[in-house]
């Protein structure tokens, strides 16, 4: 598997506190990769370290297979990035702001400006000063700035922040379109639902460490199976299910099975205990549940 981002033992310390703590990250090419974690988990510091905006305390970084910072210029020539919220010179127009960054890139970058503005739907506002832009427009202009590099890799820090539902949908489509073109999109977010809807792969980060990484579906489905039950006697059912994690959900129960117990064995046990089962179905595992399970487990270990 070709990796566009690879880190080994990457650490960034601020005094005694490790914002990024021994991270081994592998981002495969051609996917939308979500870097998911709560606020303050170290996502932005990780991105800043990857891009050389801040020096790592230790560890190795390879961008597009090129070691950093030794091959920094070669790697970043094919990387577009938005770090934190996209910032611009407010007194310049959108087009002029792109021209500023294009001047720092290769000669072809300036020729890409009209297409980039078109792509993000800002062609008609390109001659307006950026100080008149909404946050959503600035997010899109930030994407246009990334496109000047014709990037193999886009690194987007919380790209959905501040967007309205239509803007979020638009951004999601844009990201998926980039992936369809063969580009890799690495996006950080604390929005579980968005990562699940947008990304193919995910790494869940907490307190500077990666807790789990892999394909979204695999992570969501991993762990104990969960069933949704509707029974005539909730109290009796809970007695039978003692030892399993049981939550009341709606009028029924949500059961996370342990000890390798299957749905059929569970049903039999309930019926033998005199509990009538009117509904039994596997619950669709979501990344959110997995995330909450992981973070609550981590909190429990503290």
């Amino acid at each position: 598997m070709e990796a566009v981002i690879e880190t080994r033992g990457l650490t960034k310390r601020f005094g005694d506190r490790a914002a990024v703590d021994g991270v081994d990250l592998l981002v495969p090419a051609g996917v939308a990769f979500g870097f998911l974690g709560p606020n303050g988990a170290g996502k932005t510091t990780m991105i800043r370290t990857l891009l050389g905006l801040t020096r790592p305390s230790s560890g190795e970084v390879l961008l597009l297979g090129l070691p950093q910072p030794a091959k920094r210029r070669e790697a970043l020539a094919r990387v577009g990035a938005i770090v934190e919220e996209p910032k611009f010179h407010p007194h310049l127009t959108g087009r002029e702001n792109l021209k500023i960054v294009a001047a720092a890139r290769d000669r072809a970058a300036e020729a890409r400006i009209p297409e980039a503005l078109q792509r993000v739907g800002l062609a008609h506002r390109g001659s307006d000063r950026v100080k008149t832009y909404s946050l959503g427009m600035r997010q899109r202009l930030g994407i246009a700035r990334c496109l000047l590099a014709d990037p193999a890799l886009l690194i987007l820090d919380e790209p959905m922040n501040g967007l309205d539902p239509a803007g979020i949908l638009e951004m999601r489509h844009l990201i998926r379109a980039f992936v369809d073109e063969g580009r890799t999109v690495f996006l950080s977010s604390h929005l579980l639902d968005e990562v699940e809807k947008t990304c193919d792969h995910v790494a869940i980060v907490d307190q500077g460490r990666i807790v789990v990484q892999g394909a979204v579906a695999e992570i969501a489905e991993s762990g104990d199976p969960t069933l949704l039950l509707e029974v005539d006697d909730l109290a009796a059912a809970r007695r039978v299910l003692d030892g399993h994690r049981v939550d009341v959900e709606g009028g029924g129960l949500r059961v996370s099975l342990t000890n390798g117990l299957g749905a059929a064995e569970l049903n039999r046990a309930l019926v033998e205990a005199g509990v009538a089962v009117s509904r039994l179905e596997p619950a669709r595992a979501t990344l959110e549940e997995k995330f909450l399970a992981i973070t609550s487990r981590l909190e429990g270990n503290e």
């Binding site: 800043r48 891009l51 050389g52 905006l53 801040t54 020096r55 920094r72 210029r73 070669e74 790697a75 970043l76 020539a77 990387v79 990035a81 770090v83 934190e84 996209p86 910032k87 611009f88 010179h89 407010p90 007194h91 310049l92 002029e96 702001n97 021209k99 500023i100 960054v101 294009a102 001047a103 720092a104 890139r105 000669r107 300036e110 700035r145 590099a149």
Partner: protein
């Protein structure tokens, strides 16, 4: 060159900065000439014509003093605008060296400032000839020295402002450099007990290029010493600014 062009674009699109800088350079000379013409027209017995060598000297000192403020403002803006607007990190992630991004600020600021200074100087020279009446005209040597003095005094401050701006805000840069040029440096130059060490003051070195009769307390030094002093100041500030730009997080 494309980076320099981008730097110039960022500066010239600042309407307020351009308006004030033009006012301080070209505008100040024009206003002074208009006042001199008006005074002469109102009372030619009391007020000489507006041109001639003596008036050129006054206009050059006006241009140098106010042009110096424009130089500092332009340098400070060039040195702080990328970081201040949060755009510096976007330039860094293009893979460009931070030192390159720092260096083009200096070139860009000079490219914006020097044409304004040249225009202001041209207006002063033009006025000194066209409005001379019967007054003595400035010599070529005078004009050469005035030009060297004006450029030395102002261009060095563009460089110092860009270098200093790597460390702090544009307001602090403007305040510190104006205070240095207008007050502190002249106090130091006036302290005779400092002896030859006063030649190390950039303002003293720049004033070396002014005609000898024009400056009070002008220190005697060779042109080589004056140029070396200015170069050392420029190198120190540029190196410090570049070092800090390379060192800090973007």
């Amino acid at each position: 060159m494309r980076l320099v062009g981008a730097e110039v674009l960022k500066l010239v699109r600042r309407r307020g900065l351009m308006a004030w800088s033009l006012l301080l350079t070209v505008g100040s000379v024009l206003v002074a000439e208009i006042v001199l013409v008006a005074l002469h027209a109102a009372n030619s017995a009391k007020h000489d014509p507006a041109g001639g060598a003596a008036n050129l000297e006054h206009l050059v000192f006006l241009l140098s003093g106010l042009g110096n403020v424009a130089a500092i403002i332009i340098g400070a803006t060039a040195g702080t605008q990328d970081v201040g607007n949060g755009v510096f990190r976007d330039l860094v992630v293009t893979g460009r060296k931070r030192s390159t991004l720092f260096n083009v600020r200096v070139v860009g600021a000079l490219a914006v400032f020097l044409p304004m200074l040249a225009l202001g100087f041209a207006v002063a020279i033009g006025g000194s000839f066209l409005l001379a009446g019967g007054l003595p005209l400035p010599t070529g040597a005078d004009i050469g020295r005035y030009l060297a003095y004006t450029v030395a005094l102002t261009a060095i401050d563009v460089i110092l402002a860009v270098g200093l701006a790597a460390f702090t805000s544009s307001r602090v840069v403007v305040g510190v450099l104006i205070a240095w040029n207008a007050i502190v440096s002249h106090l130091l130059i006036a302290i005779g007990s400092l002896g030859g060490s006063r030649k190390l003051i950039d303002v003293a070195a720049a004033e070396h290029f002014a005609p000898r009769h024009a400056i009070d307390n002008q220190l005697a030094m060779s042109s080589v010493t004056a140029v070396l002093t200015l170069v050392v100041w420029a190198v120190i500030f540029l190196r410090a600014g570049r070092w800090w730009t390379n060192r800090t997080d973007a």
